[in-house]
Amino acid sequence: MIITVQFWSYFADYTGCKKTEIETENGTTLAKLHERVCEQFPKLAEAKNSTLKAVGVNYQDDDFMLSDGDEVSFFPPVQGG
């Protein structure tokens, strides 16, 4: 299945891109995808513990099971206001 991954704020500087597509096997969890992305973009791993994760417009837990076509966002703590 194909997952679209978006990086926001300075995470896009860490990866050098705002968006990428990752092909992964069925049954991949959000945590597994995050690990995979950290391997692909090692600088992201430095911020692993503070990374926020969303699927579509909702925050999701690490054990969230991804589906084909999901849009996943990884980003640092938010700073609105």
Binding site: S9, Y10, A54, G56, V57, Y59, S73, P76, G80, G81
Partner: protein, 130 residues
């Protein structure tokens, strides 16, 4: 509860927003908050902050916060404006108005809204050094 959410690169016109205020029947408290860009970030002087948002998710998350307010306080109206892009020092990046029957719930809901925003709404800032 009436809600109005604006996320835009346009400057926040506070006077115009106040002029468009609509007081519901029985409402006696209006709390307004402006978040203004400071000239310093830590120890460094800055000229502006560049705001970025995951806008679709930000709208959804604001909606969830508005729903939580409606369940918790008898608030009649919430209006919120968040500016994106470059916001110069001394200009507002955020404007919030909460209208309720009494001041206690208006203050509490406004504080809650801003605290929740700072935890959950995907907006980020990049200060521009002077």
């Amino acid at each position: 509860m009436k809600t109005q959410l604006t996320i835009s690169i346009d400057p926040i016109d506070e006077a115009a927003l106040v002029k468009r205020r609509e007081m519901g029947d029985g409402m006696g408290a209006v709390v307004c908050f402006s978040g203004v860009v400071r000239g310093r970030e830590g120890h460094a002087s800055i000229t502006a902050i560049d705001y970025e948002a995951h806008e679709e998710m930000a709208r959804h998350q604001f909606g969830l916060i508005f729903e939580a307010i409606e369940q918790r306080w008898p608030v009649d109206s919430v209006r919120l404006v968040h500016r994106l892009g470059l916001v110069p020092v001394n200009e507002p990046s955020l404007w919030v108005e909460v209208i309720a029957p009494h001041r206690a719930e208006a203050f509490a809901a406004c504080q809650f809204l801003i605290e929740e925003m700072k935890q959950k709404v995907p907006i980020w800032k990049k200060p521009l050094p002077a």
